[in-house]
């Protein structure tokens, strides 16, 4: 494949997680010693975040009956559908981001979990707004997908991890000053069982849906609230 071959392309490839390990290491080293480049990257990240927010409407609105009717997807037009007409899926199903490469995910997760005890995993979940990518040790990337509050008051985040099309998803909740993994998707669970990673009690490997049920997840928090939590060290203000 063709690697990035100019300044702009390298920045874009960095932001989009498209640098290979060597390129990523070189780019990070450059970021360390070139404040102008760091500022540029930060500005570009801000632009991306703004774009995501500017087009967040359809995703924030979710799906209701009126929308389905408007889109020609009303249940009664498709009677063979297995779901009941009023069975509006809970938000985590509506919001689920289909991720390809479940098999490759297992590979990616090996690296994640060996570094998970380190500060990288916690810092990424502490400080990264949903939809943005944080680089983890080992060239892996973590992208928080959404933030919600569990029934027990903890703040939790669904995240994807991996690189390129190797990805998996999980849920972690902030307990004390660190993030405890509460659930991982199927391949990831298999993998974690064979490692030293301690999953929360009750983790049943039935995918994220079960964890959302168990955690008594509230609706996802909006971008504003999330950003307040990020800047406020995840202290509940209300």
């Amino acid at each position: 494949m063709t690697g990035p071959d100019n300044h702009e392309e390298r920045i874009a490839a960095f932001l989009d997680g498209a640098l290979d390990d060597a390129e990523l290491a070189a780019f990070k080293a450059e970021l360390e010693r070139d404040p102008a480049l760091a500022a540029e990257v930060e500005r570009m990240m801000g632009n991306d975040a703004l774009l995501r927010e500017a087009f967040a409407g359809p995703v924030e609105q979710g799906v209701d009956d009126a929308l389905l009717a408007r889109m020609g997807l009303a249940e009664e037009d498709h009677p063979a559908a297995p779901l009941a007409a009023n069975d509006n899926p809970p938000f985590w199903r509506r919001w689920q981001v289909p991720l390809g490469g479940a098999i490759a995910a297992a590979l990616a997760l090996t690296l994640i979990f060996t570094t998970q005890q380190g500060a990288g995993f916690d810092a990424a979940l502490d400080g990264t707004p949903s939809g943005q990518i944080a680089a983890l040790d080992g060239g892996q990337e973590l992208k928080p997908l959404l933030t919600f509050r569990a029934g027990d008051g903890r703040f939790c985040r669904e995240f994807s991890i991996g690189k390129d099309d190797a990805g998996g998803t999980g849920i972690a909740c902030r307990s004390g000053n660190s993030w405890q993994v509460e659930a991982l998707d199927k391949g990831a669970t298999e993998l974690a069982r064979g490692s030293e990673i301690a999953l929360a009690s009750g983790e049943d490997g039935a995918g994220l849906d079960a964890a959302y049920e168990r955690l008594q997840a509230g609706d996802p928090l909006g971008a504003e609230r999330e950003s307040a939590l990020i800047s406020g060290d995840w202290q509940a203000t209300e």
Binding site: M1, T2, P4, N6, E8, E9, I11, A12, A13, L15, D16, G17, A18, R43, M44, N47, D48, L50, L51, R52, E53, A54, F55, A56, G57, P58, V59, Q61, G62, V63, L67, L68, R70, M71, G72, L73, H78, P79, A80, A81, P82, L83, R93, R94, W95, Q96, V97, P98, G100, G131, K143, D164, D165
Partner: protein
């Protein structure tokens, strides 16, 4: 998506519902506005359901739907051009914020400026920004979705980002 036989229309319908928010966002970016995007989205869904036999299970439904929407969008653009009513990007940008017909005034929100920035991008850059930055696809997935080389994805994305940056940070950058 599971490997298997051709899906029943009802199954396909459920799968489309699952990706509907993302499909709407993609269409909104493509058609440069939420109302126009929803029209496009609805047309894409209608076409997809009528051609469900063409969807290969085991492949990505989102990519398939995005391609359908893009094809319809391109067809619509051509039809408008032959009728001599080519869309003016600046007019469209005004419609994005939802206050159609109003002059864009100073102090407009950052969010509408971001939407305008996207609207002003050339079509082939905008679609990639929608796939990669909004939808979170990797370059490889975007390349496969649009059937273009990875290198093309990379160069278009970088040019689009530069243009967006200029649009959003004109003052800072001078």
């Amino acid at each position: 998506m599971e490997q298997g036989s051709v899906p029943e229309t009802a199954d396909l319908r459920d799968q489309i519902v699952a990706i509907l928010p993302r499909l709407r966002r993609f269409c909104m970016a493509l058609a440069r506005g939420q109302d126009a995007g929803d029209d496009l989205c609805q047309a894409a869904i209608e076409r997809a359901l009528s051609r469900s036999d063409q969807f290969k299970t085991g492949t990505r439904l989102d990519s398939w739907m995005y391609r359908i929407a893009q094809n319809i969008h391109i067809d619509q653009g051509r039809r408008k051009q032959t009728r001599g009513t080519e869309i003016d990007v600046d007019d469209m940008a005004g419609a994005l914020s939802g206050d159609d017909g109003l002059q864009i005034v100073e102090g407009r929100s950052e969010l509408s400026r971001a939407q305008e920035g996207m609207a002003a991008l050339p079509e082939e850059q905008r679609v990639l920004m929608a796939l990669v930055v909004l939808d979170g696809m990797s370059y490889k997935e975007a390349a496969e979705t649009l059937d273009i080389p990875m290198g093309t994805v990379m160069s278009r994305i970088s040019r689009a980002r530069r243009a967006i940056d200029k649009h959003l940070n004109r003052e800072t950058l001078q």
